[in-house]
Amino acid sequence: MGEEVNSKVVLMLALLVVLVVTISTWLLLNKLNTMEMSAQDTQAAVVYDAEALQGSSQAGKVALEILPYGGGT
């Protein structure tokens, strides 16, 4: 009877170990995946923004005033 109980305890411990190892592996893989995605995001952000303002238009003004010949009014 006592040996049977001990076997059950060992079995439970074995299942617990399997569970912990599984969770550990999942956590690590998940973390590695997150880091890889973050690196990809960073790479994608280094882009040349090709948007440009098309059709920029500027003006310059020329002016003069001609007074009457000889400076008369």
């Binding site: 040996e3 001990n6 411990l13 690590l28 960073t42 059709g55 003006a59 005033e65 000889g70 400076g71």
Partner: protein, 222 residues
Amino acid sequence: MESNKVLTILLVAALFVSVFGTLSAINRLEGFQSLTGLWGVANGTAPTYAATNLTISSLLNVNFTDDTADFGSGYISAGFDACTIATDGTETSGCVGFTIPNGLLLENQGNRHAKLNISNTNYSNSLLGGTASGYAWMWDDPEGDATCIGGNFTGNESAWSNLTGVINEANYQSNNVLCGLFNFSDASDLINISIKFHIDQTAYAREVSDTWIIYAIDVSPS
């Protein structure tokens, strides 16, 4: 019985190794805080990570940094047939009262090469009045020929050309291109547009103005 005991010890040991191994690995990778909020690792011994972000914005920006050539007011002195004034400093005898301004100065202040179309809005035979008056222009690139490549006004570079009508797309069959490529490099991105008036003594008193327009189109490779 004895084998179960040994197995139990081994399993417990495996359990501890697995738990501590996992915690240690996660902590070394990026810190446990992001997973649990329990603790951070920015203590100088474990690496921290930060994303870098660089965006180079492009900008087409061509400006008249000197956008006015105002000769002020003046007259032809009695006894003289005409007066010639120009932004290159020309001022003949007989001109009284005029000021000599700098020419219109264009600068490519963006980071894109630009094609420039040039036009002016006001010219007619009677613009200045008188029998022998004239209105001329020329352009030059004071920072070298790399400034302005191509274009339909190469004959007007550093050489006066009398206007006989307005410069625009219609009159030039869309060949009113001043530069096929106006460089944005700071070492060669200036264009000077010079203006000259020849005022005949028969010109009536009047105010004269004209507007020069530059239309820039992005021609940089994307």
